[in-house]
Symmetry: C2
Subunit: 202 residues, 2 copies
DNA sequence: CAATCCATTGAACGCTTGTTCAATTCAAGG
DNA sequence: CCTTGAATTGAACAAGCGTTCAATGGATTG
């Protein structure tokens, strides 16, 4: 079952990945043991080492693949057009993508500090590449004059934080549907960068 | 050195609290050992148990006290007036408070899952009380007509996520001062709930 | 000075951790 | 049917975990 490791490949067996993902998301990397992962897969702990060199690689693989998929998915469906269309495309994509992958998102934001130095740098770089996608949209929109952003970088971080936060509270059993939520977040996002807004109280 | 435990008191010695805070924020609750905390204080592990019943209580104490301080600080400086003033007060308070306590904030958002059931419920309740402060402002503003929020609850979560995110990227050595950042976030927040915004493209 | 008291030590407890590896099992190929 | 080779087991390893506690120490009080 040895596995060719192409540049974008998952190194680890899919069953193991799924179990590790679930458990890391629920309890945190440091709190989950290799034996727990093995038991979820239905196997002894030693068997995991046929598929992964060690626990750290398991975490890194999950995070790296998640970020790569995120970037690829966005590249595949990125909207072209004026800044408004591009921003709406990004917003809706981001909310939808994060709603569909709560565990991956949780891990990728919470377990950064459990990555070794090199792995951390790699994931950090991927994350910055993704943030840059939004930052470019905002910068273009500001240049053209359809957006007013007091600070492009802060606006990027603010909007991404706002949107990503959706996965901390959304439940499928709740009052709102996914597309409701998508729409509401887009509404808030568009407002937050609107130009038509220099005549406010205070 | 036994300590009176009034309702809002910290149970644990301040040196231990400080060490645990630093280490939990840096490496995560599960990854930090009692021996590491003890060594940071300059003491043997056993000595910690004079001040705390166990490791879990250490975490819970940090989170509970943080949330209580947050609520008290806001109660002390909450602005009264029209919704715009109240929202600006909240926004600036939240950003400032979170910039000043990066470790507490980090822990309180990241270590929820390491709390025992009862402790989790207690912290969760405090958090909801705090979120309700903002939600009330938004609801009042929407009723009066100065805000347009498509969904009060989602707007609350969105704004809080956006503002809280400041502590993930802000560095004192960076391009912007704390009051710069405060102002920028207020600018984005005010826009995100503005009424004067029904005539947009798309 | 003696008595008291409590913070602290340092060793020990039973258990779990990540990881290794000889031995075994098991399926596929000739 | 036998051989080959890889997947898996199960035991073992050293290390570290949270927590306990008799013994020690050093200051405070009478």
């Amino acid at each position: 079952m040895a596995r060719k490791t192409g540049s974008h490949a998952e190194i680890t067996g899919p069953r193991i990945r799924a179990a590790a993902l679930r458990l890391f998301a629920r309890h945190g990397y440091a709190a989950v043991s290799m034996r727990q992962i093995a038991s979820e897969v239905g196997v002894q702990a030693g068997a995991l080492y046929t598929y992964t060199p060690d626990k750290q690689a398991l975490l890194f693989d999950l995070m790296r693949v998640h970020m790569e998929n995120l970037l690829e998915s966005w590249a595949a469906e990125a909207v072209f057009g004026d800044p408004w269309e591009r921003l709406e495309g990004f917003t809706r994509f981001h909310v939808r993508y994060h709603l569909d992958r709560p565990d991956e998102v949780f891990i990728s934001y919470m377990e950064l500090r459990n990555l070794d130095t090199d792995n951390f740098r790699a994931v950090e770089a991927l994350r910055r590449r993704y943030e840059m996608q939004l930052q470019d949209i905002l910068a273009d929109g500001a240049k053209v004059g359809c957006f007013t952003v007091p600070d492009t970088k802060v606006a990027t971080m603010g909007i991404i934080a706002m949107l990503t936060g959706v996965s901390t509270w959304f439940r499928d059993t709740g009052r709102l549907s996914r597309s409701d939520v998508e729409g509401i977040y887009w509404d808030m996002t568009r407002r937050s960068v609107s130009s038509r807004f220099t005549d406010l109280p205070a």
